[in-house]
């Protein structure tokens, strides 16, 4: 007979406000097999856990049910506590009477009745819980970092400096990401490239880092400690080993008018190119879509001029399989191009602001390239349309961000600061120019941020207008910006030479597809979801996968670098052990009943089911049955639902446990 202890938590008042916890405990006490039932203000607190442990030893409890918050919140806490009191942690279950009950129902009677049911259900389930011994698996102490922006670079360097090998995969021909595009950074106005490029070089030179650029993730298999990742290394058409990076090919390439994405398409590049002079690796890539040789079969100049003979038109994509134990996802962000509505996006677009139609309406990143000393204009701020210096410039904030009617409700977080920075950069370069900023609110939390923002107004003469722009149109060579200044309550009309839009920060295109390969979850905007918003902000719910940077949500550089280092620290923690204890929620085959139809094998997405031969003592084959490799099994239980005779069972979610719950209702 089981002796179950039921512990009902008040969660301060979070539960007890709507659920009569005393009644829940009293009800639990009447359930068959319950030896003690009690309630307490904060079960997760130290005294709460002590109470639990004491009850286990004094009442000789065999199982424990904690009726409190979601198991996603504190299951670990209580299982650890139970383990501390000498019980197997899997004999403890949580009844979720907070997220699923007290917080979502107002009627005290109803909520209490529901809480009683939830507790009753979990008591019955727990009765059927079995002791589950921990499973340990070896840890491959190599890490994969996806994305070679500042987040990926920082994470890769930190992990590599700790002595572990890192595989860094970048989709573009060079690492560097968006930070390499920036001119100067707030709030210090450091030159972005000056602080970024040394780190890029560190990556290139680090003996522990294997760098794959112009590459993408093809397939991710395995699980924490034991991932197999297939990387598609796209054909560069240039042999990275033999290329010396002399650049002759680029100077000789006849195709010179291809818009350079790195320069936001305002600068031009050749068909064989590096995106920017400080690119790492400094190996060009042939843009096959625009290369005459690939389009027509003629040309081939680059090959002819290449001294080391590195140009290889026949090069194919290669697939490389890397074994790693942890993955850091650092795929960063993209700025939403407001002129068009991407397919499948919930965002409605801002056609009314003329972006893409009026050449002198640009986005913030384009302004960065204009302002960058290494940019296409050599750092001169000029109009894309005619190359003239804009004397009146209007910045508009919150384009896309915080606009629920347009589909995005979040704040992009960095725009207030970079717009302030832009006004300064502008003022430094166009001394007689005037900058105007339309803004809804100025959000400047962060060290020295508000001071920086104030400086743009107080010292750099930017005129901030609180209000939104209602209309914007081309009039001659001017752009008329009409808006309202709600602080003063007047309509404003500015004849501007240039307009800069602070467009929303969004996840990279295809972020959802990568998430599906990794088996991690993402929100409705495709930002990746952390395991816990407060307590596990750098981990994914999928064990062994960590997040760094803006792929999780808009972030500025210091935040991104902090999170990247945090993710690296998590990886190092994981690598600090030779073997990893993993949740023993895995499938097991009852061989005696298995008829070897292998339906389980057919549905297993992990290849965890193997065929096992049963032989007699003489070695004669009797039957072939299914067998689950507990190291590979991820614990989804699809095999069990598929097995006709239920001869494969998922520990922790057995039919007995589930039926007990259904029957309790």
């Amino acid at each position: 007979m089981s002796r179950i202890g039921v512990f009902v938590c008040h969660c301060g008042e979070n539960i007890s406000r709507t659920v009569d916890v005393e009644r829940v405990a009293a009800h639990a006490a009447t359930l068959p097999g319950v030896a003690c039932a009690t309630e307490y203000k904060y079960m997760c607190s130290d005294p709460g856990q002590t109470l639990l442990k004491k009850a286990i030893s004094e009442q000789r409890l065999t199982h424990v049910v904690v009726a409190a918050c979601s198991p996603r919140m504190h299951e670990r806490t209580f299982r650890k506590a139970v383990e501390g009191a000498g019980l197997n942690p899997y004999l403890c279950e949580m009844a979720n009477i907070r997220e699923h009950c007290s917080w979502v129902h107002e009627d005290r009677e109803e909520a209490t009745a529901k809480a009683c049911d939830i507790v009753g259900m979990m008591v019955e389930r727990t009765k059927k819980n079995r002791v589950l011994p921990a499973i340990t698996v070896p840890v491959t102490k190599r890490s994969l970092v996806i994305g070679g922006g500042i987040a990926g670079i920082q994470a890769a360097l930190d992990i590599a400096d700790a002595g572990h090998e890192v595989v860094l995969v970048e989709r573009e021909p060079s690492i560097g990401g968006h930070m390499a595009q920036l001119s100067e950074t707030f709030p210090t106005l450091d030159c972005s490239q000056c602080i970024m490029t040394p780190k890029m070089v560190d990556v290139a030179n680090h003996p522990k880092i294997t760098l794959y650029t112009y590459s993408e993730i093809e397939l991710v298999e395995g699980y924490i400690g034991n991932f197999q990742v297939t990387v598609r290394k796209r054909a560069r058409s240039v042999n990275e080993r033999t290329c010396t990076g002399c650049g002759v090919c680029m100077t000789k390439c006849p195709q010179k008018k291809i818009p350079n994405k790195f320069d936001q398409n305002i600068g031009m590049r050749t068909a064989i190119y590096v995106p920017f002079p400080q690119a790492v690796p400094n190996t060009p890539v042939i843009d096959r879509e625009n290369c005459t040789k690939f389009k027509t079969g003629k040309c081939g100049v680059c090959q002819k001029v290449c001294g080391p003979g590195a140009v290889d038109f026949e090069q194919q994509d290669t697939l490389i399989v890397e074994a790693v134990g942890a993955i850091v996802v650092a795929t960063g962000f993209d700025l939403y191009s407001i002129s068009e509505k991407p397919k499948g996006s919930p965002i409605k677009g801002y056609g009314e602001f003329g972006h893409g139609k009026i050449p002198d309406v640009i986005d913030g990143m384009t302004f960065e390239r204009l302002a960058s000393a290494s940019g296409p204009t050599g750092g001169k701020i000029v109009r894309p349309s005619d190359g003239r210096e804009p004397k009146q410039i209007v910045f508009i904030q919150c384009i896309g961000s915080r606009a629920r009617e347009k589909g995005i409700s979040y704040c992009s977080k960095v725009c207030c600061m970079y717009t302030a920075k832009h006004t300064m950069l502008y003022h430094h370069k166009v001394h007689d120019g005037q900058a105007y900023v339309f803004f809804m609110d100025a959000r400047t939390p962060g060290k020295s941020y508000d001071e920086f923002w104030r400086r743009s107004i107080e010292e750099e003469e930017a005129v901030y207008i609180r209000g939104m722009v209602s209309r914007l149109y081309q009039k001659g060579d001017k752009i008329v910006v009409m808006g309202s200044d709600i602080a003063v309550g007047v309509q404003v009309e500015i004849e501007a030479d240039m307009v800069v839009l602070a467009t929303a920060v969004q996840p990279q295109q295809g972020a959802d597809l990568l998430a599906q390969k990794l088996g991690i979850s993402y929100d409705k905007y495709n930002f990746y979801s952390e395991a816990h918003a407060k307590l596990r902000p750098v981990e994914c719910a999928t064990a062994g996968i960590f997040l760094a940077g803006a792929c999780q949500g808009p972030k500025d550089i210091p935040e991104t670098v902090s999170q990247a280092s945090a993710a690296a620290a998590k990886v190092m923690t994981l690598f600090s052990k030779d073997r990893l204890e993993r949740e023993p929620i895995v499938a097991r085959v009852r061989e005696a009943g298995c008829v070897g139809c292998f339906a389980c094998k057919k549905v297993c997405a992990y290849g965890a089911v193997e065929e096992k031969e049963i032989r007699d003592r003489q070695g004669n084959l009797l039957r072939v049955v299914a067998s689950v490799n507990p190291g590979v099994c991820a614990g989804c239980g699809t095999c069990q639902a598929t097995c006709p005779s239920k001869c494969v069972e998922l520990d922790g979610y057995t039919d007995e446990q589930i039926v007990a719950m259904i029957e309790a209702l």
Binding site: G593, V595, C597, A599, V603, T642, S645, C647, D655, E656
Partner: protein, 307 residues
């Protein structure tokens, strides 16, 4: 409508089976032959397993050769194929079951020597074995048979299959009739049918695909399905049975034939076959499928029923 069904070739088939069974046993091609023999009652035919060429003369094939002999190669009868290569007489519908068993790793093709029957149809379970085969006495499954001639057999008697009259499919009509009813009316229909069930498990025991050694419905930890022959447990049993056969049942209709309580079990199986055809374009046939429709998927599968 032409009411007679020409089975004049069955005598020649019986001769050929006797000769071929004797030959393959004699020459050691097989260790046993699973076939049909005559019973005591007039016209009755029953399954038989012979291991010597001399016994081959007992074999027969008539319109009363209703059994799907595939059941003798699975589950409790697994000893039979283990003894060596087995010869087995199969009608088209029976062969589909064997093919299904191969897809589910229960049999291997090279373990079998298939004697295929060009089949014009067999008798319904509701008539005595001595009755003449006419449209009215034909087994319902034969009315909608698309597998008169088994494919891929090792031996098929050299007889020509007489042309068969076209008959209205009875299962399709009955399914359509039930589908047109309200849920409450359908429930009432099945409730009455399932109430008769006495849990003799003839449907399970005779089904080639119910090859589990430990049936889910016999388990008591947990008791997934009540085992007693009461309306509740009966209904659960028949729903679980139909679900477990969905995407596997090859339509031999043995379950329905053997039900001593006349429950139209094959209706459930045909309904599921129809749905799986519509949903996933799956049909049981003569080709081995590596995965069944319910242990595979396509990303574009219908999900119109999911919010």
């Amino acid at each position: 409508m032409n009411n007679t069904i020409d089975i004049s070739h069955y005598a020649a088939i019986a001769d050929s089976i006797r000769a071929e069974a004797a030959r393959i046993l004699e020459q050691g091609v097989v260790t046993a032959v699973v076939a049909y023999t005559t019973g005591r009652r007039a016209g009755s035919v029953q399954p038989v397993i012979i291991t010597a060429a001399a016994e081959a003369e007992r074999l027969t094939f008539t319109a009363a050769s209703v059994n799907n002999l595939a059941v003798y190669l699975t589950k409790a009868k697994k000893d039979i194929p283990r003894s060596g290569r087995i010869g087995i007489v199969v009608k088209g519908c029976d062969l589909k079951a064997l093919v299904g068993l191969m897809g589910e790793s229960q049999l291997q093709r090279d373990q079998l020597y298939l004697i295929g029957i060009p089949c014009a149809g067999v008798l319904a379970s509701t008539v005595r074995p001595a009755e003449a085969l006419i449209a009215a006495t034909l087994a319902p499954k034969c009315r909608e048979c698309d597998a008169h001639l088994p494919e891929g057999c090792d031996y098929v008697p050299a007889v020509s299959l007489p042309s068969a009259p076209t008959l209205e499919p009875s299962y399709a009509a009955e399914i359509a009739r039930l589908e047109a009813l309200t849920p409450a009316e359908r429930w009432a229909y099945w409730k009455e049918q399932f109430a008769k069930c006495i849990k003799c498990y003839a449907c399970r025991q005779v089904c080639p695909f119910c090859f589990c050694e430990q049936c889910l419905c016999d388990r008591n930890k947990p008791q997934m399905v009540d085992t007693t022959p009461r309306p509740a447990g009966n209904t659960a049993w028949h729903i679980v049975r139909a679900m477990h056969l969905a995407g596997r049942c090859a339509g031999c209709a043995e379950c329905e034939r053997v039900c001593p309580m006349d429950i139209p079990l094959n209706l459930l199986n045909r309904k599921m076959a129809k749905e799986l055809k519509e949903l996933f374009d799956y049909e049981a046939g003569f080709a081995v499928h590596e995965k069944g429709p319910l242990n595979s998927f396509m990303e574009k599968d219908d999900q119109s029923f999911i919010k």
